[in-house]
Symmetry: C2
Subunit: 362 residues, 2 copies
């Protein structure tokens, strides 16, 4: 895209909108705080790259002490392998000949690669692809209450672990879960029961991986877990503030937008639509908050317009051509819409980074 | 993105998912039907490129008889100018020095370029940028009931038209509206009143442009309009079927996805999350329909997973590793997530086109 990305040194008010921008100091502080917490509580920390999708930010996370990276898809992991990362967990059932062939090639060049599985079908595909020359580590994904993927019981987890352990080309690496918010007790119960059953069978369970930014600072409530995975914590967003994970002072991403129309006294229109903010509501009834304008509600989005209802906004709103700063509901999905990301310190652009893994859905 | 895009001749069941695919025959039929309707009713037809964002599809639309293209942002128009299109209407208030400079450069190389304005601020910026050497055509955007942008009354439209006509570098081109669904009467009333007032002032109003796919086949109910703009009609989606614009047989886009988990009898998980379908609900309570599985509801999306509730699905659902075909709620936003788009005829890939204007939000 032939867009005039700002040079370092450009003040943010000169940046063409809509544009998400990342506060360097808050980014660094978020990385440091999460790592310090995990260090203090004896957990490995494995950041999920979905939120930033940028190799240099992942480098900041690893340099701070992260044990490795978490990716969701094979093509995503390829991007970070290309950038030199050597410890990657893909928390996804990889299926089908195209992806399995790519996964095998990836395993040949990444020092520590692991995937998850929650079914015999997934394990059978992996077992038929990998061999003893270069075995693949597989964790069993467990559903500890989030009701997405994962085996439903510790007994099922053990049965799948046995299948993995029995496959010559696979190594059973442990168990993994993505808990419902506040599900520490359920996660701990699932893990301890599974570990006990595995122990009875003489099967080692070296890694017990839990995850989620909302649960990050509750990771100490899951003593059985050896590592925690989290993505959103690195930038934070409106949903993280609501979850109590952070405060407004920890928000590293804002979306800059310009007022393009003031058609009626109770209505303003911004130049950031669903192609900039996405339609993710995450349980909210509007599409983000506008800094400094309490009561101004982004009530609808079309692709290139955000309609703001000013009925309950006591502060005189910005005029046409003026800029506002939006806290998005969900930061990860905003990242996926932009080819590059603008970073700043105190409102002055520091760098513009390619969003290396934008669009990786395979 | 290093993805194995399928070669022409590949059967769709071999395509790695998630992947939106376009049915060539339905695409051609949708283009032909809309053009025939507009021809029959004496309207110019101006397709909005937002839905496909692909130069070769725009070429099909123009070859069928479209008068020109409709874009929303300057960078979007640049992409289609680069591809040789010479009649482009940008239905947006263009503001700020960066975009105005780019708009001026664009006007120097596009034979027929026009923009819209709904405020004195927008007109002042345009007037200060353009001169008599290469004037810019400006239409007044009118709010005929959709409550997005647009002047609120015919009187305000005329006042703005006078400002445009008085600027040496601008030419008043007419009026434009984006109506609420089913708003033909309101559009016609706004247009006739504005035209009468302009006529009293001796101001010509050559173009009266209305728009929207839901209202496309009701364009004859707005006799005053000279042209109609529509985007979604070219692929169609679940919302267009609901609006009565088309039937399921006119759906040109489907999203192919694979079952990656069957964790419980009432639940399946697909590999298409919000990074493939987007979270656009458009008033629905779920995220698309799954062809052939009535009652299967996509109840939640995370970035890479779709959770399907099978409680009310009487048909035995697909097993892990098998493919399904989804009708998305909103096709335009799906297009914006993919670097390339796969086309097929009778389930065999015909071509893979770059999504030329993906990510153009400026």
């Amino acid at each position: 895209m032939n867009y005039p990305w700002p040079e370092p040194g450009t003040p943010l008010h000169q940046v063409a909108t809509p544009m998400p921008v990342i506060n360097e100091d808050r980014l660094s502080a978020n990385i440091a705080r999460a790592q310090a917490y995990c260090d203090k509580n004896g957990k490995h920390f494995r950041p999920h790259i979905k939120t930033h999708k940028i190799a240099s930010v992942a480098r900041q996370q690893v340099e701070a002490g992260a044990v490795g990276l978490n990716c969701q898809k094979v093509t995503e992991a390829e991007v970070f392998a290309d950038a030199g990362f050597d410890d990657i967990l893909i928390t996804y059932n990889i299926l089908g000949s195209v992806k399995l062939a790519r996964l095998k090639a990836l395993n040949a060049r990444v020092a520590k690669l692991a995937v998850v599985a929650d079914s015999d079908v997934t394990v059978a595909g992996l077992a038929a692809t990998f061999d003893t020359d270069r075995p693949l580590t597989v964790l069993v994904e467990c559903d500890s209450g989030a009701k997405r993927c994962g085996v439903q019981t510790p007994e099922a987890a053990v049965a799948l672990a046995e299948s993995i352990a029995a496959a010559p080309g696979l190594r059973f690496g442990g168990i993994m879960t993505y808990p419902a918010i506040g599900g520490a007790e359920q996660v701990e119960a699932f893990m301890t029961r599974t570990m006990a059953l595995l122990s009875e069978k003489g099967i080692e369970c070296p890694v017990r991986s839990s995850g989620g930014s909302p649960d990050l600072f509750a990771a100490h409530l899951v003593p059985s877990a050896t590592e925690h995975r989290a993505g959103t914590y690195v930038y934070n967003d409106r949903s993280m503030v609501r979850a109590g994970h952070c405060t407004a002072d920890d928000l590293a991403m804002h979306v800059l937008a310009t007022v393009v129309s003031r058609p009626a006294p109770d209505r303003a229109v911004l130049d950031c639509g669903s192609k900039a903010l996405t339609s993710d509501l995450l349980g909210f009834s509007d599409y983000g908050t506008i800094d400094g304008f309490d009561g101004a509600r982004i009530v609808s989005l079309s692709e290139e317009h955000a309609v703001v209802d000013l009925t309950d906004c006591a502060t005189p709103f910005r005029e046409i051509g003026e800029m506002v700063r939006i806290v998005p509901n969900h930061t990860c999905v905003v990242t996926n819409l932009f080819d590059r990301m603008v970073f700043h310190r105190d409102g002055v652009v520091t760098r513009v980074e390619k969003v290396d893994a934008r669009g990786t859905v395979w």
